[in-house]
Symmetry: C2
């Protein structure tokens, strides 16, 4: 539990601001994941950071914005860098799954899955939904391309993508990174399971 990250002395003003802001987000995400969004009060987060509640409002407009930021950061882990081009469907699929599993076990990714979009206020919710839709389309496109190039078994891309997302999104509910299975191992098993179902053996 890193907490005393607060009174860290860094010169640049706005840099310090951003840094502290980040610390708040991270702490919030962790707390949301532990106790659930609705059972986490701003006072809880403040206490965790050893600061007063109003201080949080110096960095954020309101609770909703904090959650929104968590979601944004989670989604960004997937949408920010493009997938490797010039490889066939299965290869892209593998890469996507590995990346997504890693996202989902991170604090922001877990928050994304556990808290869900219902908690967000309409405006932010729309933005998040758009981001998730984009990720959804990424996977669907991969599958479609894979079917076209013959590396993936013919199937309905929509349903199949949903199944795959289901497996991965459920990970935060049962997986604990301090257990016997490492994240690498987990990602590998996840890839294997999907591959056995979808990869077309030649």
């Amino acid at each position: 539990m890193q907490k005393r990250a607060w009174s860290l002395d860094i010169q640049d003003r706005s840099e310090q601001f951003q840094l502290k802001r980040q610390v708040v987000i991270e702490t919030a995400a962790r707390t949301f994941n532990e106790r659930g969004f609705y059972k986490t009060t701003l006072a809880d987060i403040a206490e965790e950071l050893h600061i007063a509640k109003p201080t949080i409002y110096h960095y954020f407009k309101n609770k909703d914005e904090i959650l929104f930021e968590c979601h944004r950061l989670g989604i960004g882990q997937i949408t920010d860098k493009p997938l490797p081009a010039g490889v066939n469907g299965v290869a892209q699929l593998k890469e996507f799954i590995e990346r997504y599993v890693r996202m989902v076990v991170s604090d922001f990714g877990t928050c994304l899955v556990l808290t869900g979009t219902i908690a967000l206020e309409p405006q932010n919710r729309d933005v998040v939904r758009k981001g998730r839709k984009e990720i959804d389309n990424m996977l669907r496109d991969i599958i479609t391309r894979g079917i076209a190039d013959g590396s993936i078994m013919p199937c309905d891309p929509k349903t199949t993508a949903s199944f795959i997302f289901g497996q991965m999104n459920w990970i935060p509910y049962w997986y604990h990174s301090d257990g016997e299975v490492s994240i690498d191992e987990l990602a590998e098993r996840q890839v294997e399971f999907v591959m056995r179902s979808l990869a077309r053996q030649k």
Copy 2:
């Protein structure tokens, strides 16, 4: 939206009581699923039923008990009847998946998945967790048995079960029964997807 189910005249007193109680639960489950548990007030449920809020307390101790009942009913759909014996692993697996998919798209099943156990008060939460654990073990046992009898591909039952539950538990987040895919079709696709990954071809 069936609402005027309230002033239904049935003779038996306790039967009427149970009936009305049931209507409250069903309405609550549907509302929880639409707006989310925390965004559903007891006043909302009461309004939906065209009754006053205190009336709900005639049938339930508190909000938590209503949610608990939803979970119990969902879990019961799986645990109440035993699986067919005398068949091999894959056959049982198929049966289990079909049954579970149907549970999960029902109002109570959806509530079970969407609301999660964090919302429940400790005592009720423990009971629900126990029920879920039981279901978890059912699937793990099926897989273990299937591996033993050679009908299922060797794999880690724990991880594999979690993957399968993931797929199915995620269904409420994306599936809408009024779309192009029927529940039967959905269950079938679900079985297929898992089978392709796990069934051992002889």
